[in-house]
Symmetry: C2
Subunit: 296 residues, 2 copies
């Protein structure tokens, strides 16, 4: 199987597992909270984070069934962050992936609660998983890693820095820090979680974290490039909003050719990070290629 085949297969597994999880939880969650959670979880995301966790876990010899609840959990966390980021008090976005944002469909109160529920239930999925029973030490280390990456010193902190930055005032260094926290921290954690859960050595977990950080920065620069060049139809959301808001991004500051070159460099750096692995890391190499070449 090529790396691309494996990634397609893993994405299918994630979709199946998310659907199963949603269906089994639904009876206990009141409406319209249930519908709001499902709406955003099934809005057509690319599942980069769960596929990354699975790919990293498989690269160190982990088992898919053990990894899947954690893969779903990182998608829950990512989805909650999108719902809250889109709120009027934050980025105030009306569209996401071509569909109206959660608060436009369900109202602000339910959108806030849907994010809260997804974030909390992510930890439930991990803590009551089969692996958490069979090897709670691994599970608890993965949970700690995700919570650190997603919390006040990680992703939420990055969102605060983004929210606090006055339009046009951001320095390149400040924006690098925001991108590291907002995007790269969670992706790095997904890679490390896979390494921890799959039974990788501390050195392997470190290497996977390096890979994930570079993939995260690559993801962000391609996102910024697409924000400048994509169309609404391709992106499913408003375009050139960063520039209109006076936000510093790599292509805004340095121009498109430099941004495209930076993306190539980051892809090479991500691939180089896992050079000690053999073909078991081919899906990780493919993932870097796909992130760089994505069109939305």
């Amino acid at each position: 199987m090529t790396g691309a085949d494996t990634i397609a297969r893993l994405r299918g597994l994630v979709e199946e597992s998310l659907a199963g999880t949603l269906a089994s939880e639904a009876p206990r969650v009141p409406s319209p909270l249930r519908e709001a959670m499902a709406y955003s979880l099934t809005a057509g995301g690319k599942r980069v984070r769960p596929v990354l966790l699975l790919s990293a876990g498989l690269a160190v010899g982990g088992k898919e069934d053990d990894l899947l609840p954690f893969a779903c959990a990182v998608e829950y966390v990512h989805t909650y962050s999108l719902i809250h980021d889109d709120l009027p008090a934050m980025d105030d976005d009306d569209f996401r992936r071509g569909k109206p944002t959660s608060h436009k469909v369900f109202g602000e109160g339910t959108a806030i609660l849907a994010g809260d529920a997804l974030l909390t239930d992510a930890f439930r999925l991990m803590a009551r998983s089969r692996l958490a029973e069979a090897d709670p030490g691994r599970a608890v280390r993965a949970i700690a890693d995700l919570a650190r990456a997603a919390g006040g010193s990680g992703m939420v902190g990055g969102q605060q820095m983004d929210l606090s930055a006055a339009p046009g005032s951001s320095t390149a260094a400040a924006v690098d820090e925001i991108e590291l926290r907002k995007t790269a921290a969670l992706l790095a954690s997904c890679a490390r979680m896979g390494g921890i859960l799959g039974g990788g050595s501390p050195a392997q977990v470190d290497v996977l974290g390096e890979y994930g950080t570079r993939l995260g920065l690559l993801f962000q620069v391609t996102d910024d490039i697409l924000d400048e060049t994509g169309s609404f139809v391709e992106m499913g959301k408003g375009i050139a909003k960063d520039r209109a808001r006076g936000k510093w991004t790599y292509p805004v500051a340095h121009g498109m050719p430099a941004a495209v070159e930076r993306a190539s460099e980051l892809e090479r750096a991500a691939v180089a990070a896992v050079s000690t692995f053999g073909e078991e890391a081919d899906p990780l190499r493919e993932l870097a290629r796909m992130v760089r070449n994505r069109r939305k």
Copy 2:
């Protein structure tokens, strides 16, 4: 030491531990997120949930140092829920414990993020605690219990039911369900978590959960009584808001004497739940008495 002395001592431990945790985390959390988290965490809460967790844990032979990070975590979760409940899109409250609510001080965006960070960091505190290393099986069971109680099928679900209920339309049964989810689920989980972390038997954990549920319902009915009878000075927030909003509460529906009688019954039921314990459960008995007699 009497039960009341123990509770005062445990509350002091919680305050100390929360202050230490905040101070050690602060350097990594950007402003004003850091200040918003600290503002709500140190706004003068009664620390019922962490003291309950500690009291339950000590009743089954747990060690204070092992329990404290989890006690802080449940206070983080409770505090996040207050910040989000107070938002304009939810209950739209301007005051809490006599102080302006988070979004009045820091703005809605930062208030949402402060809640998100407290919720996420709660799981970090638990997952990287000393007990999580020494006995990850207990830690992961406690984490799963809290996540279930706080998530879409628990506290967040209860808040959704509250948000969705049309003014004046709630039935007594629906409101009982909301109170079970919004308040009692988290208190029951605190008691069970103490039992799990302290090494209690499954039967003991069940008994503690029963006690916690009754304490939670008692907490809610005394809250409803105080909403009707308290003053702003006593309560630190707007009064009789439930009645003004057309919300069904026990005293609104059945009158004050019946509500007071129900509070007495719930206190007796909570105490009865732990009748198999000896004096090691005196703090739990005292806690029920204090919750019933509270004036704010």
